[in-house]
Symmetry: C2
Subunit: 497 residues, 2 copies
């Protein structure tokens, strides 16, 4: 990911700093984060990267605005997609197409780490396609990131409905050009990309035969899920790892505040936590810790299991000291490595800014903590605060539309709605993933099904398989591909009849 370059107008440095320093953290929706970067020493990732050599890159002249006929709407931009036809049976064979929907990041990282398609393409004789989401990576309207993100008039076209229509256009064109009109298309995505995959099956069933929606919190929208669900699950993860760990973390926030309230308190905290650039408010430290805990929970994956790693360190420290903050520091050291100092300044990537735009417009995910029922401090979701912080970043003419996703894609009574409508969707979730709180966790019908793993975390199933994978993860993927094969077989039977 390219680092954010501070080149453009509205999003100038002072604004951004103001935003970073002053925003209530809870109003910043955590990046759903398609998949975590896999460490380069992972052999399977290297294998996946090697196969990347066989992926060819293409660009589609994408319509800027599918739902408008103003002169600007006809403008096109180059949308990047990649294909690997090594395993594909070829044109006019009705062989399947596995399509990965890019989410809130450049597609490059997914191409490296999402091994699901590569793993099953050979036995399906499938074509592999990765499509990048508009306004990320190289799929930038208006020619460049700087132009695309320069103001709300250029950013306005950046939303999930347009992205779904992009995918529809690319796939229709691609199938036609490859003489693959009768090829069944299975769409696959993780996290926000998983939402897109499930919504695509619901909105474009004539293009996507089925969807694998991994860790897709499609119910984390207005009125559907308690705001604190994300944090309740993260809390459960820590409780399960160790009650001492949970208690230590839960007690730490007031300790931090107590020290911060002293005249030299911020300096003391900066020293205690070895912070490179001394903090100006205790919230900087608390936000950083919160991010660490939630990230560890979201990506609590084998073989490391970072929640256990943090808690083990806290538990060991608890044996040698009664000082809560020393215990907390032990957790930081375990998670981040033993460093001379810890840099609290986050690098804001282009993709971070893109996701921020999305959560400031249609993807209003109301996460917050109204009650003292998690291990985190109370921090309610307040729409007004979100709006203000969005306007501080993007200008006063942007206003979140919290009702929109539920109006456009539904959610209320989803079981009743989809019991007799829709088909061929897998909602997969790892129950340690805090985002699973907004996921579909029950079977809805014969072919709209939930696959759950008790010990799984965010989008684990999509990662490149490893020989060290636990049995439940191997089994999860096997179930998924078996269901997908069933859809394809049923489709072929229908074609023949």
């Amino acid at each position: 990911m390219t680092e954010y370059k501070f080149k453009f107008s509205i999003l100038s440095l002072p604004w951004l700093l103001m935003f970073l320093v002053s925003c209530v953290y809870a109003t910043i929706t955590p990046r759903l984060g398609v998949v975590e970067r896999t460490p380069t020493k992972n052999l399977n990732a290297k294998l996946a990267r090697a196969s990347k050599g066989r992926l060819k890159t293409f660009y589609y002249a994408q319509t800027l605005d599918h739902f408008n006929y103003r002169p600007d709407s006809y403008t096109t931009f180059q949308q990047r997609y990649m294909m690997n036809s090594k395993h594909w049976a070829g044109a006019n064979t009705s062989s399947p197409i596995l399509v990965y929907f890019g989410a809130e990041a450049p597609i490059d990282n997914d191409v490296e780490n999402v091994g699901f398609l590569n793993s099953y393409a050979p036995e399906l004789n499938a074509l592999i396609v990765f499509i990048e989401h508009r306004y990320y990576g190289k799929s930038m309207p208006f020619g460049s990131f700087e132009e695309a993100y320069s103001n709300t008039s250029t950013l306005g076209y950046f939303n999930s409905a347009q992205a779904l229509a992009d995918y529809a256009e690319v796939l229709v064109s691609l199938k036609k050009n490859l003489s693959a009109e009768s090829s069944p298309v299975i769409v696959i995505g993780g996290s926000y990309g998983g939402m897109l995959a499930s919504w695509f099956r619901l909105k474009y069933p004539h293009i996507g035969l089925g969807a694998l929606a991994s860790s897709a919190p499609i119910l984390y929208f207005e009125g559907l899920t308690p705001h604190e669900q994300y944090y309740l699950i993260a809390t459960k993860d820590y409780k399960e790892a160790s009650m001492n760990c949970y208690n230590t973390i839960r007690q730490s926030w007031s300790k931090i505040d107590k020290i911060a309230s002293k005249s030299d308190g911020l300096s003391l905290l900066s020293q205690k936590f070895k912070i490179c650039n001394p903090i100006n408010a205790s919230s900087e430290l608390k936000d950083q810790l919160e991010r660490m805990y939630t990230s560890a929970a979201q990506y609590d994956k084998p073989p490391i299991y970072p929640v256990k790693m943090i808690c083990d360190a806290i538990d060991v420290a608890s044996k040698r000291t009664t000082d809560i903050l020393s215990r907390i520091l032990a957790g930081v050291v375990a998670f981040k490595g033993n460093k001379k100092c810890y840099d609290l300044n986050q690098i804001i990537t282009e993709a971070d800014l893109g996701w921020r735009w999305q959560t400031c417009t249609d993807l209003v995910i109301p996460m917050g903590r109204e009650h003292d029922n998690t291990m985190f401090p109370i921090s309610p979701f307040i729409l007004k605060d979100l709006t203000e912080s969005c306007q501080a970043v993007f200008g006063v003419d942007v206003t979140p539309r919290p009702h929109w996703i539920v109006t456009e894609f539904g959610g209320h009574g989803i079981k009743n709605v989809l019991k007799k409508f829709g088909s061929n969707i897998i909602f997969s979730n790892g129950l340690r993933d805090p985002y699973s709180g907004g996921g579909v966790l029950q079977n809805i019908s014969n072919s709209v099904v939930a696959i759950l793993t008790t010990n799984g975390s965010h989008t684990l199933d999509l990662l490149t398989p490893s020989k060290d994978d636990p049995k439940w993860l191997v089994g999860m993927r096997a179930s998924e591909i078996s269901i997908v094969k069933g859809w394809i077989a049923e489709y072929y039977a229908m074609l023949r009849s």
Copy 2:
């Protein structure tokens, strides 16, 4: 309908005249025409009008652009809808809501003539809602017709995807405000409104429990239906009425051209056909005749059956004269009444212009006659001609998107696609309606069904029932409401379980 007032910029008189005079008729998609105006002497229509007194008018502050976050997108306009709660069981009772989707006309005419909702509301204890389509009637963005239609930048928001989202927003808001969240919503529409109804069930199943799509040619789009299907069915109608009538009409075009080619030919034709303002080209007469024949076929309804009326007159005339054009004139007199002269100048209404915009943007219905297999002259559909004529009317920055509807809503292999996806849609068609050629004429699944009447025409089932209705029409409506009741019963059973 307000007459078109020639007040605004691009659409100035010279352009319009150029458009009217020079356009190849085949490139102008006939108005789908929700329902024909019912003569005022019809008692049932009077009854329907009386009930109009109980309809209350409301306005919803509608989002101008649902799929964009540019500053302009947030603008709202007043969207008109009407409700009649006389039969409704009220809030918190889960009583049904019957919703009529306005199409390419002000809603007023539909409120008068669409009696289907009024007829069945009492036995269903249903709330009746009529919603007007954006850019028609009083639901005009930018404050007025003149502003809304002044250029492509203001017209750009005028398309079917935005209209569907409008209906979604109105219904979500309305159900909430009425404490009717659990009320099943049945959406009903005719012609283009029928397309909208079926698409709504497919795209917004969480809002619409089921759809009655009357005479909805959702398959009359690119690559789905032969271009001449509309004209083939009209031809069949005339053949069935009388082979002599069909032959007379079929032979008449060359007769007209032959006379027109003479030095005083156009004058002769004007006299012969009693045209008020002499014609400047034979196409003016031929277009007018074609419009008469197709309109008679589309609205070939009891008790008059205009196709038979025209053909009877032609057949009677055929006994007294061998002159083809005298026979044709007899048909005109029968259809239009015996007038001193016939005015060929069409009044262009606001709604006509709205429909023209829609067929110039997303609703590209490729109607034309490539072969000499109808009773009409050859007149192929040529996209380039359509584009040119659209640009002549609306400006060079509008370009039809012929692929869009099929990408957005599907159509290819609809039976396979919807066999295992979607539910609760009735596609009703009268097989004399030329637009039935683009309709869904076969059952797709248990609950996505086709209801056909051999002698029916365009959107007959939606009209206010009359005691003179033929049995097949009474039966058609009874089948429809019986199916709708089944959906509602099934929904209630699901609510209870």
